[in-house]
C-alpha cells in the first residue's frame, strides 16, 4: 500500500519535471503544455524525446532505454511509465 502512494507522488513529480523541461527547451509557457498532447505536436522530434527521457532517467537515478519509451508519447503517459521504473527499486529498498 505504501508503495502505491509513493508511486502516485512519483508520477506527479515526474510530470512537473517533464513540463518544466519542455517549457525550458521550447521556450514556451508551462501552462501551454497540456499533459495529454503528443510530444510531436509540440515539435519535439525523436532525438529530443530520447534526450528528455535520458535526462529524466539520470535525474531519477534509473537506467532506461529511451527508445523503449517512444510509445509513451505524452507527458502523462511518460511520467506514469517512468514512475513504474521506480517501483522495483522502491520495493527492494
Amino acid at each position: 500500500m505504501n508503495t502505491s502512494v509513493k508511486d502516485v507522488v512519483g508520477a506527479e513529480a515526474i510530470e512537473t519535471w517533464l513540463v518544466r523541461y519542455i517549457s525550458t527547451l521550447l521556450e514556451i509557457d508551462a501552462a501551454e503544455i497540456k499533459r495529454d498532447k503528443q510530444f510531436s505536436r509540440f515539435g519535439l522530434d525523436s532525438a529530443s524525446i530520447a534526450a528528455m527521457a535520458c535526462e529524466a532517467s539520470e535525474w531519477l537515478g534509473i537506467e532506461i532505454d529511451p527508445v523503449a519509451v517512444y510509445e509513451f508519447s505524452t507527458v502523462s503517459k511518460l511520467s506514469t511509465r517512468l514512475a513504474q521504473y521506480l517501483q522495483p527499486s522502491a520495493s527492494l529498498a
Binding site: L25, L26, S46, S48, E55, S57, V67
Partner: protein, 302 residues
Amino acid sequence: MKILLSNPHLERVQIRNATVAIGVPFVATLYGIYLLIEGRYTIVDLSLLAVMYVLSIIGIDIGFHRYFSHKSFRASKGVETMLGIFASMAAQGPLMYWVANHRRHHALSDQQGDAHSPYFSEHGALGKAAGFWRSQVYWAITCRLTNPALANDMTRSENIRFINSYYLSWVALGIAVPAAIEFAIYGTVQAALSGALWGGLIRIFLGQQGYGTINSICHMFGKRKYQIRDRSRNNQWLVFVTAGQSLHHNHHAYPRAALLNFDRREVDPGGWVIRGLEKLGLVSDVCEVDRAFLNQIVKDEK
C-alpha cells in the same frame, strides 16, 4: 543546459550507426582503389564523384555549418531546403545531431568534453597519433552523447524538422541520383551500380574524411593569427576540399562571420557561393566580420 548526456542504450545506438556510416563507405572506397588500379572506371564515374562531392560539401559547410549552426546569413526556404538535403547526403548525421555536436565543439573547444578535439578524449589528454585518429574518425563512434537540446532552436521550424526527420532518405537519394544518371546514359544495371559506388559511397567517404580534416589537421597544423583560447589553425591548401572551412582559425576567431577570408590573400570558395546566392536575392543579412574586434585580438606578427 547539459552539454553531454549519459545513456548506455543510446551510446550503443551511436556506436552502431556511426560504424555503419563510416565503415560501409570505407570498404567501398577500398574496392574503388582496386577498380582504379585495374582501369575499370569511366569519366562519367569520376565526374559524378566530383559534382556530388562539391554539392554535399557545400551542403555541409554552407548549410549545416555556417547557416544552421551559426545562422551567419538568412536564406529563402528553397535554399534552406536544398542546403539541408545536400548536407544530409554527405552521411555525417542528421541536421540537428550535426548542429548540436558543432555547438558543443564551440562551447568546449579543445577542452575535455569537446566531441572531436585532437588534444583530449573524455578520458584525458591524447598523444599526437591518437589525437589525430580520434579527431579525424573515431570520435563519431566513441564520443559521449551530445545533448540534442543544443539545437533546440531548430525544432521550432517545420521545414528544418522535415529535413532532419527524412535524413536516411536524403542519404539514399545521394546514392540513387548518380546511379540513375549512369543508368540513363548507359542503360545497364552494372552502370547504375557504378554510379552508386563513385557518386554515392566513395564520394561519402571522401566527404567525411575531407571535412574531417577540419577537426584534425585544422586543430593541429597550420597558422594562427589571433589570440583565442582554442587551438584552431588556418590551412589555405585545404580550402577547395572543405569549401573554405579550413580557414578554421578565422572561423573560431569570429564564428558568426559568413565569409572566412578575413584578409585579401585568403581564399574562401564557400564565401563565393554565399555571395552568389546573395546576388540572386536568395540569401540576405550576410554577417560580416567585425574588423575592430579582429584588430583587438590579432597577434603582433613580428
